[in-house]
């Protein structure tokens, strides 16, 4: 029997003096973290005996209740509704977070969020698939061996059943139950359904007639977007039901209804919409490439990566097969796909080479290798599409490469391979190599120029040179605005909402309103002309005042524990500083090595007393 989240939350509430005694409530992976107004009202002995609370302690002014992974969020949700802390703070957080990021950005971000956790699986699969297929083309006897059969199985598992991985990850992102998510993913590739990759105009799936509508018995192999949509729907339905179904029957009614509703919606609405879209794309693509010559190739080369994002590219085999059996007898589709894929490789490689973040590098490098072998999902979802600029660079490179391929009459004698393995199937190897170099070269150069992760040069300027050059680089963007003045962005990097700072105290606003910055640089500069009001002994935080604004810039989370190692404060208390003047240098590698987040908190500590405070990058 699962834990009764609501009962647990109610008992916690009863033993801490109710919602009015809660200043703020948050949770981390395992703990419910409460800031309590009056600790006298807390009944610690009773709290420890609440079913579901595995332990409690007080730390840094927080009452922390250990509840457990996967459970704490449920208890937290219930706790908010029980105590009424919810209505205000949770909605505020949502609204604030939402208003800071435009809708289209959030939509674009979602596939990336879903894909990043499953990258190890698809990178491994992608590389192996590329190698195994290349070997099979190069050595025909290998293709018929048991070795190939088995290695092919191992290699394509993650791709053949990709919807399952996507569904589980999406369920985590959208806050649904991951096992229900897995069920949805499994359903979409159920063996009783026809494999989507085997559908051709002559081999159509059977249909279940349900009276008012019918369901096509076809799976979603290779699909991404319909799976994400299905799981988004599932998570929404599940959460709504959890709220509205009486507790007593929640445990069986909610999962049952969630799966049923999602299944119908997926197969009756989401699926058919996508298959109609797919057919349009297929017909459009075929027409473009066969009827409009070079221009069509150019357009298709640009569109191709988008269709990969949609998961439509697995259907192109149909076009390729049609071309081979047609009048021309040559697969002129393959050079286009190859240019598009290889351009994504070039863009991803540029990211891999240019980035300094070790983690990103470790993802980008194998992803680009996989892309060079024709399997672009890891590169597109894991890297290029996430940052968008590399993706666009790839689109441009792919378009130009495809145009070149079309004008030079490139074509393949078989289908299903692109990239380097395509060398074995192409009619003119030197021209094909030139095409790949054009596509990837353009994408590589554009990415190198327009994509910026951080500016390593700035961090490596020798200390001695700094004072000699009084020219200050004043930040162009502001992060906080209020009646008393404007706070410029003190560190280069991605500005996030205060609520998203990975530390409960900063996120809760106890220290004032503001923003977080995920630094791409290692230098904090003054956000306005002002006076240094305090410097932390451990050099990682600085206070600055001006015109009634009191500002705290705090580098990293819990970095006080590093005792100054990795931080150099360049100013002292009482110093007058100008906007853009360097304040603190810090070493991101050391912060990471110490196991802390390097997110910089930029907070107006007296925001309560200031008028018209508005946060967010501008």
């Amino acid at each position: 029997m699962a834990l009764d989240y609501r009962k647990c939350a109610e008992e916690i509430s009863a033993n801490i003096g109710g919602g009015s005694n809660v200043i703020s409530a948050a949770h981390c992976a395992t703990r419910l973290r409460l800031v309590i107004a009056d600790n006298g009202k807390v009944n610690k002995a009773a709290l420890e005996n609440v079913d579901g609370v595995k332990g409690m302690f007080e730390s840094n002014g927080q009452l922390q209740l250990i509840i457990g992974t996967g459970t704490v969020n449920k208890v937290y949700d219930e706790f908010l509704s029980v105590t009424g802390v919810s209505a205000a703070s949770k909605d505020d957080v949502k609204k604030a977070a939402a208003s800071k990021m435009p809708l289209w950005k959030r939509i674009l971000k979602t596939p990336g969020d879903v894909f990043v956790p499953i990258l190890p699986a698809i990178v491994a699969s992608g590389l192996m698939m590329g190698l195994v297929e290349a070997l099979a083309k190069a050595i025909p006897s290998f293709a018929n061996s048991g070795w190939f059969g088995f290695l092919d199985l191992v290699a394509n598992t993650a791709f053949a059943l990709l919807p399952v991985l996507v569904a589980v990850s999406a369920a985590r992102v959208f806050g649904g139950n991951i096992f229900l998510g897995a069920v949805i993913g499994l359903m979409m590739v159920h063996p009783a359904l026809m494999n989507a990759w085997t559908v051709t105009p002559t081999n159509q799936p059977a249909v279940w007639d349900l009276g008012i509508f019918s369901i096509s018995q076809v799976g979603y192999q290779g699909h991404v977007i319909p799976v994400i949509l299905a799981v988004l729907l599932m998570s929404t339905v599940e959460k709504w039901l959890h709220k509205h179904v009486p507790e007593m029957i929640d445990l069986f009614v909610t999962p049952l209804c969630t799966v049923l509703v999602t299944a119908f919606a997926t197969f009756v609405v989401i699926g058919p919409i996508f298959s109609i879209l797919e057919n349009w794309v297929l017909q459009g693509a075929e027409w473009l490439v066969t009827s409009t010559g070079g221009i069509g190739a150019l357009v298709m080369g640009a569109l191709y990566p988008w269709t990969v994002v949609m998961g439509l590219h697995h259907m192109y085999n149909v076009i390729e097969a049609g071309m081979l059996s047609g009048a021309l007898g040559l697969n002129i589709w393959m050079p286009i796909a190859s240019a598009a894929n290889f351009a994504q490789f070039g863009a991803c490689l540029a990211v891999a080479i240019k980035c300094r973040n070790a983690k990103l590098k470790s993802v980008a490098l194998p992803s680009s290798l996989s892309a060079s072998l024709g399997i672009t999902e890891p590169a597109i979802f894991g890297v290029n599409f996430r940052f968008m600029k590399p993706f666009i660079a790839g689109v441009i490179g792919g378009a130009v490469g495809a145009l070149f391929g079309s004008l030079t009459g490139l074509g393949a004698t078989t289908y299903g391979v692109t990239g380097i393995p395509g060398l074995l199937a192409i009619n003119n190897i030197p021209v094909y190599v030139i095409e790949l170099l054009i596509a990837s070269g353009i994408a590589f150069v554009i990415t190198s120029v327009i994509w910026k992760e951080e500016q390593p040069e700035a961090a490596q300027v020798p200390e001695a040179a700094a004072p000699a050059a009084p020219e200050l680089e004043v930040p162009a963007t502001s992060v906080i605005r209020c009646a008393a003045g404007t706070v410029l962005q003190p560190v280069k990097g991605n500005v996030i909402a205060r609520e998203a700072i990975p530390d409960d105290t900063f996120a809760s606003g106890v220290l004032g309103d503001g923003v977080g910055i995920e630094p791409e640089d290692e230098l904090v500069v003054a956000p306005f002309d002002g006076t240094i009001s305090s410097v932390a002994e451990s050099q990682h935080a600085v206070g600055i005042e001006s015109n009634g604004m009191e500002m705290l810039i705090h580098v990293g989370v819990d970095t006080v524990n590093m005792q100054g190692d990795g931080f150099t404060c360049l100013v002292k208390e009482g110093d007058e500083v100008k906007a853009g003047q360097p304040l603190i240098r810090f070493d991101r590698a050391k912060i990471k090595a110490a196991g802390y987040s390097d997110t910089v908190a930029v907070l107006l500590t007296n925001s309560d007393d200031l008028e018209g405070v508005e946060c967010g990058a501008k």
Binding site: N39, G61, S533, G543
Partner: protein
């Protein structure tokens, strides 16, 4: 005016996080709260000034509370120091 002395036990001293919640607590009262360490003294409502004192574990600070609700404030703030700092 009320006052008490307290020796800090929190390993990080009065740094950002503890300072923040202390200010929050003090805002509940009308009284003026002053934190004194050695020769330095600050109005405890000024977060930056409070942090700037660099109060560490083992330091003994004197806290004075002066105002209309000083009785109640002194008791609760002393309690707060014991529980959090």
């Amino acid at each position: 005016m009320k006052s008490f002395e307290y020796t800090i036990t929190d390993p990080v001293g009065i740094h950002a996080r503890p300072a923040g919640i202390l200010v929050k607590k003090i805002k509940e009262f009308a009284s003026t709260v002053t934190v004194i360490k050695g020769e330095k003294e600050v109005n405890a409502l000024k977060l930056m000034a409070l942090m700037g004192m660099g109060i560490k574990q083992g330091d003994t600070v004197k806290v004075t509370i002066d105002g209309a609700d000083e009785e109640k404030a002194a008791a609760e703030i002393e309690e707060f120091f014991k529980a959090n700092l």
